[in-house]
């Protein structure tokens, strides 16, 4: 299990929702004051509103480490054939499905349209260095409160360019595409299987 801080959604919403009603309540308090007092209070409220507006996005950034945290767990990663049967080996020419189940025990993780991104990479691992043969991703909301999301990605075991041997499926979750400045949460679980001749 790994922990992820809710860096984008939670803090920003909290500040933007609460700051304005607070200001409204202040402006309705008490009996009608004298004109000079009204001017001073108005001036003060304008300053507060201005500073609150300026500091909202900055405070959201600063609140990352100490704010609400979400618990994301990759519950399961496994391979199956197209009928849903999970096996230890598959033949070239088959269509393979890699399934991932992610549980979010924290707050909703909703960074749409940029993320979160669930990635599945299929690697040939019989050599010393992994040879990726396919990457698929899905951008989807991960509801919190212990909700489990399942997603399956299809891979064709192409006989023309696939080597026989051991394969791994790796799963990652990121807040956005890395090419868009995103970063992975420290999440990866591996499913191992073998690809054999037809």
């Amino acid at each position: 299990m790994f922990r992820v801080s809710s860096e984008h959604a939670g803090a920003t919403k909290y500040i933007s929702k609460l700051s304005r009603p607070e200001l409204c309540r202040h402006s309705r308090l008490g009996s009608l004051p004298a004109p000079r007092r009204i001017f001073m209070i108005s001036l003060a409220l304008m300053l507060i509103a201005l500073l609150a507006e300026m500091s909202c996005p900055l405070m959201a950034l600063a609140a990352r480490p100490s704010g609400a945290e979400e618990d994301l767990t990759i519950v399961e990663v496994y391979a199956s054939d197209s009928t849903g049967k999970s096996r230890a080996s598959y033949r070239v020419g088959e269509n393979l499905l890699i399934w991932v189940a992610v549980r979010n025990d924290g707050a909703d993780l909703d960074l749409l349209p940029r993320g979160p991104v669930v990635w599945i990479e299929l690697d040939y691992v019989s050599d010393a260095v992994p040879f990726p043969v396919g990457v698929q991703f899905s951008i989807q909301r991960l509801p919190g409160g212990g909700t489990v999301i399942r997603w399956g990605a299809g891979f064709y075991l192409n006989p023309t360019n696939l080597q026989l041997g051991d394969y791994e499926a790796h799963v990652y979750i990121s807040d956005a595409m890395i090419s868009d400045g995103g970063k992975f949460y420290n999440a990866s679980m591996t499913s191992v299987f073998t690809v054999t001749g037809a």
Binding site: A62, P65, E121, Y124, F131, M177, I178, G181
Partner: protein, 350 residues
Amino acid sequence: MRKGSKLRPLIAILCLLIAGVPLSVALPQLSLTVYTSASSYNGGDVVTVYGRVTDTLSAPVGGAQVSLQVTAPGGGTIHVAFVYSAPDGSYLLQFGLQATAPSGYYTAYATASKSGYSSSSNSTIFVVPRITLANWLQNGLVFAAPLSVVFYYPDWDPSRGTLKPPGVTVAQLTDWTATGFPYGASTFTQVDALDTDSVYVDLASGAPKVSGSSIIAMSGPAVHAIVHYYEQTETAPLRFGYDSTNFYFFKKDGTQKASLPLGVAGSLHQDVFILELFNDMNGNKVLIGYGFTWKGTFAAGVYLKSRVLPNAGAYVHAWYIFSWVDGSGGGAYDGFVDLVEVSGPLALGD
């Protein structure tokens, strides 16, 4: 109640808000470099992606998470991975390219992140297939189609010196001599252009305006806008440098590959020169050759014509560094470049 006491809560809120602003911008910014072990690969090759994570003071940051995404021509993702930086800030990731990897430009995007820091992103490009002197010289230079090769010369005219980008000065005519060797090796009529010609060069940056061509530039970055551009943008695999005592050649990641004391190079009887070939972002294949002084640049031309071209198949890498010492190897100490006086390569790579 006194007037001041009613304002106290407002003043307190104001103070809190004002105090909150500097706190929120205090996160230090990470910095991240991204390099690949070569600028081009063949399908089936192993790609090494490496770099360093530092803070705003250039101090190494260990334990930073480095996220990687590699995209193929057309934008599809071929690899994702993450790794933590070592205590010295370095990181390294390796993966293999499929044998059927399509030709074109690949981009490795990386993001460094760590709690307490603002994250940072960077990227680098590599190309499939592999480009080498061996597989390029004949078709890219010697028998290249008419008008498909652009020979860029460093402008020598002081009246056009201001047309060069900052950091590049006018050349001397000695800086032109080496270009004659690859020019003479061309079978067909090709294009000549000055590095101050706005038809062929973006004068603000020094970037060539041609695409899908062969580019030849045989001078150093101090006088040649094109070479300066390719080194500044880290497109060229090698770059020139100097300090108060030495001239240097560095790999673009900063690794020192060769050096020579300033006084020794200034004698014009000893030098170090490079020959490098690479792809730029506009589909050009770029050949650059030069030494620390004009004599070394001349040696690069001599060596290219007399040693590399007749034995092109032996030069199976993209860049080489050689040494020339006048009078060495049985040659005469006469200021001319004899092939026996050239030794090396001191270093080579892709």
